[in-house]
Subunit: 328 residues, 2 copies
Amino acid sequence: MPGEFDFISWIHAQQRPHKSVRVGIGDDLAVLNLASANPASPPRHTPGRVNSGGAPGRADGRSAEDLLLVGVDQVLDGRHFDSTLHSPESIGRKAMNRNLSDCAAMGCLPAAAVIALALPADYGQDRARQLFSGIAAAADPHYCPIVGGDTSTWPGKLAISVTILGRSLGVAPVLRTGAAVGDGIYVTGPLGGSILGRHMTFSPRLDLGRQLATYRPLGNPCIHAMLDLSDGLLQDLPHLLAPSNLHPQLGAKLDPTRIPLHPDALELSKTSGHPPLHHALTDGEDYELLFTSPVQPPVGIRIGTITAAPGILLGDTPAPRGGWEHAL
Amino acid sequence: MPGEFDFISWIHAQQRPHKSVRVGIGDDLAVLNLASANPASPPRHTPGRVNSGGAPGRADGRSAEDLLLVGVDQVLDGRHFDSTLHSPESIGRKAMNRNLSDCAAMGCLPAAAVIALALPADYGQDRARQLFSGIAAAADPHYCPIVGGDTSTWPGKLAISVTILGRSLGVAPVLRTGAAVGDGIYVTGPLGGSILGRHMTFSPRLDLGRQLATYRPLGNPCIHAMLDLSDGLLQDLPHLLAPSNLHPQLGAKLDPTRIPLHPDALELSKTSGHPPLHHALTDGEDYELLFTSPVQPPVGIRIGTITAAPGILLGDTPAPRGGWEHAL
């Protein structure tokens, strides 16, 4: 659909404040404080924090709150996988791992998941079971029970939607907003070329995400903003630069020599006609964490710096928003 | 897919106990007690209740617990609606109302929802906005914020998946298991013929569901078991008769003269070749509540009685499991 992002912006604009919603549509996961919406409890929401896009609990440092996080991510035949190429088990794994990656990006722990399976009429029991087994195999190591589902056959293609519930358990969720001028920009691993197969087999960075969210070298959380790289570095980085209650529109200066190139990016460049850096900047589906911090974090490779001047520089060259696809 | 129900049974059998899961796959919504899974809290789960299928909190009467409920329900083009016939707005309404109906069936209050939209490549902004507006229009009267979503275009048909979060807020969720011999069987409204249009325009029985869940004429909840009618009375009733920790396999005796016939059932019978009762028993998508109670409830039409002998009788005639479709 032309204007897919316009539609998402429009949905975003439809949101109204709700007392239980700390963070709504627009981050990796929504953040809910159901206790504040309990009629039996005194209201605990603070003006300027509820649904503000600000970092909940940041000012408190480590929070005793147990916030509920929730989000949904779907994988669709012909868009996120190809059912003629990929095994049902690997498709199921990807469906769950994309959601676990969202938990990683918030620094929360997965708590439960529900799944909706839309199966082609001729899909058959065997493939359906393999699909579910892939979902469960991805969830089990993270103690994430699958507690509900809806399975339908239909005259359409394979579609899988996974909704994940996460818990903050005393660690303030790390939002997309919150970066500050001078922060270093970091990634947790090398980028590019995931289409060679890694986009189906990646491991969500749950341990790293939690480690980063809990890292408090000076008594306060040091990770200002974080997301997981799904659309590609140049497409996703602007989400960390958007204006918020805390900061105006920001920019970024990337050092192209420091961006870690995945071997897949090198491999793909042999046939694609693009340099490996192009793949690292634009391919997407890396599912590494991208985050900003004013101090050296315990993990991560520094690739640049947050700037006051809006826009993204690659060295001294402006990078077109959304990537190089049309610029090269 | 042949054996769709077999697959669901298989998934059900894959479940393992989890300390935070009171009720997993198999009811209208899953019931979670996240407090019991909080490492910072003492364990509060009781053997025999966790994931037992028994009625949580029943023995306590009104429970002070705030349990979290969660479930997912999808609507698919060609299965639950026809995008060449139905407006995007009505499709969106149905997607949300099916989920709100699940909240009604548990007697809980909706708390938040997330949605996954898989849009055909040529769907366009206008229809996408109408779709979302329908979802929001159904959710808003029930103070159910839409807090997250995932929108993708794809080379497939329109698919919408809605995940609903609900809260018990001190009222024990009413499960599908819990019916007892001698209970009356009740429905909240007339049945049959929903395909004439009502399947798109029904109102979820949230107020009635909550009213029933909170009704305690003798100090204890009087509604033993409840669900919402989506697949048809003869298809859904067996879910209230399944064996559980509380009871062995049960049966039901329905009084065919008391089953309320919707005017749509009468209308449809003029052209279908089936009597109106056939439509009331088998059509499905009524989204009325079906429940059992040992005492006269505040709302509902009594249509039969729970029996110790397994099987469903229509008067004195055995009704085939799953309906009359193949029996007539």
